[in-house]
């Protein structure tokens, strides 16, 4: 669980910016990812945070801040920041950004980078593992499968797990699915 208190402490820390911590090449590196090209165009108007339904109920979640930290190259802090995982991907900010920045795609790319460094919330390990082992994001209990038939619904098709595991192998993410939970 991401606690507000923990993130608040993290945010306080984030107010201090040390030049030595900034990676000037980070925005170049990340803007090479398709869909993220426009990150440099963000002029910090804050429309994303103002219209964000999550930000309305969180003291700490701010897409605007995530965009600024990305531009400044605060890579380490960003990738270890728990607030990175608070975006619900409703895509309101994407539709509202006057500069056409795909904010949700930036957050997604940052999450992908964090995962590569081994930082991933348990719930995502579980989802990945469920898909690898069953083809479905959730493990559907036997009882539900039986109930489907009782209710006159057709049997749930079985996923081709062999195909899914081959695809996970070629992009080398099978290891994430097998990660131990914290």
């Amino acid at each position: 669980m991401v606690s507000e208190k923990k993130v608040a402490a993290e945010t306080k820390l984030a107010r201090e910016i040390r030049m030595g911590d900034l990676d000037p090449d980070f925005k170049k590196e990340i803007s090479k990812i398709p869909g993220i090209e426009k990150i440099k165009l963000c002029f910090q108007c804050g429309t994303c945070t103002a219209d964000c339904p999550i930000a309305r109920f969180s003291e700490v979640y701010s897409p605007r801040k995530i965009m600024r930290m990305t531009q400044l190259g605060m890579k380490d802090r960003l990738l270890s920041s728990e607030s990175l995982w608070l975006c619900a991907a409703c895509l309101t900010c994407v539709d509202h950004c006057p500069q056409g920045v795909d904010i949700a795609a930036v957050v997604r790319a940052l999450r992908n980078m964090a995962v590569k460094e081994g930082i991933i919330p348990d719930v995502f390990k579980e989802l990945t593992n469920n898909i690898l082992e069953t083809g479905y994001a959730y493990r559907i209990p036997e009882l539900r499968l039986k109930k489907r038939l009782e209710k006159g619904l057709p049997p749930l098709p079985e996923a081709d797990i062999e195909d899914v595991s081959k695809l996970f192998e070629v992009i080398a993410i099978s290891n994430i699915a097998k990660m131990e939970k914290k």
Binding site: E4, I54, A88, L153, E169
Partner: protein, 308 residues
């Protein structure tokens, strides 16, 4: 009208917890003359792990699209997350040759190839509005729900991002309202209507979505809506299954029945509450109908307003 036939992409959340959405959708679509073909060997659309690895999402989605291409049938999904993901990937792979090449390079491993331009992906309400048509839906109503006042919650991915979805106006969505009005029920506006339910971050942080959904329920109650209508299994889970949790957290009682749109439509088409699996809902919806019917017979009028 030509016969409508789709490949049904069920997704994961519906078979996991929301069978009532599937049951009601299948019956309603059948009555409207829509044929559903079971999509065999499908896998998760990919959206849940886009944050883990974007390529994994692309490949899972592309594999599903290839299955549909092989069958030569358009996909119908009940889940906006699946619809949005499959639509977006279908479009990006067609538009971006380099991306398509890369994805096809991976798909070779499983003997598949995405061709592109062969099939389309539709969410339930998009199919109802654009393919079946409001006229036909109105014509199917035998028990108009006159006097019933409800609110709607569109799933985000039914509408956003506008650039990829191109359905309705995400800032002022009206098509689900038109579908609701076709049943004879009234659809009310409420504050923060287009806001997300917050469900996708359950498991990372539960409090924010519970407060967010609670705020929406409060606003819905404030306009005296008798029920909330959803078209997304995730949103439904948030408002229905999680409603007792929300009530405990906020020390507030909502008692707001949450119906899937096809349940509402089915009732107006003359299906019984049992046939529409109303008893499977967490928040009791049987009173809603009883009260409404009682009120109708009491006043003997077809146009009645129920106070709250």
């Amino acid at each position: 009208m030509a016969e409508l036939k789709y490949l049904l992409f069920l997704g994961c959340v519906i078979p996991y917890r929301i069978a009532s959405y599937e049951t009601s959708s299948r019956k309603v679509l059948k009555k409207l003359g829509v044929e559903l073909v079971e999509m065999l060997e499908f896998n998760c659309c990919g959206l849940p792990i886009d944050g883990v690895n974007h390529d994994a999402m692309l490949l899972l989605a592309a594999r599903n699209l290839c299955l549909a291409e092989q069958q030569g049938l358009n996909i119908l999904t009940l889940c906006p997350g699946c619809a949005g993901t499959l639509r977006k990937v279908n479009k990006s792979l067609q538009e971006d040759k380099r991306l398509k090449e890369r994805v096809n390079g991976y798909l070779k491993e499983i003997g598949m190839e995405f061709k592109g331009g062969k099939i389309a992906v539709r969410h339930l309400i998009q199919a109802l509005v654009e393919d079946v048509g409001l006229e036909k839906i109105r014509g199917s109503i035998v028990k108009p729900l006159t006097g019933l006042r409800v609110a709607e919650h569109n799933g985000c991915h039914v509408l956003r991002p506008a650039k990829y979805i191109g359905f309705d106006d995400p800032e002022n969505p009206v098509l689900l309202k038109r579908l609701i009005e076709a049943t004879g029920a009234e659809c009310l506006d409420y504050m923060y209507e287009t806001d997300c339910c917050g469900a996708p971050i359950i498991g990372v942080n539960d409090k924010i979505p519970l407060y967010l959904a609670g705020d929406k329920l409060r606003n819905i109650k404030a306009v005296n809506a008798q029920a909330l209508i959803t078209v997304c299994p995730f949103c439904h889970m948030m408002f229905d299954i999680n409603q007792p949790r929300i009530e405990r957290l906020l020390s507030e009682k909502f008692g707001m029945p949450v119906l899937h749109y096809p349940q509402l439509l089915g009732l107006a088409m003359g299906f019984t509450p049992e046939e529409m699996a109303l008893e499977e809902l967490r928040v009791d919806a049987t009173n809603l109908l009883n009260n409404n019917l009682k009120a109708q017979s009491k006043t003997g009028s077809s146009k009645i307003i129920l106070g709250n």
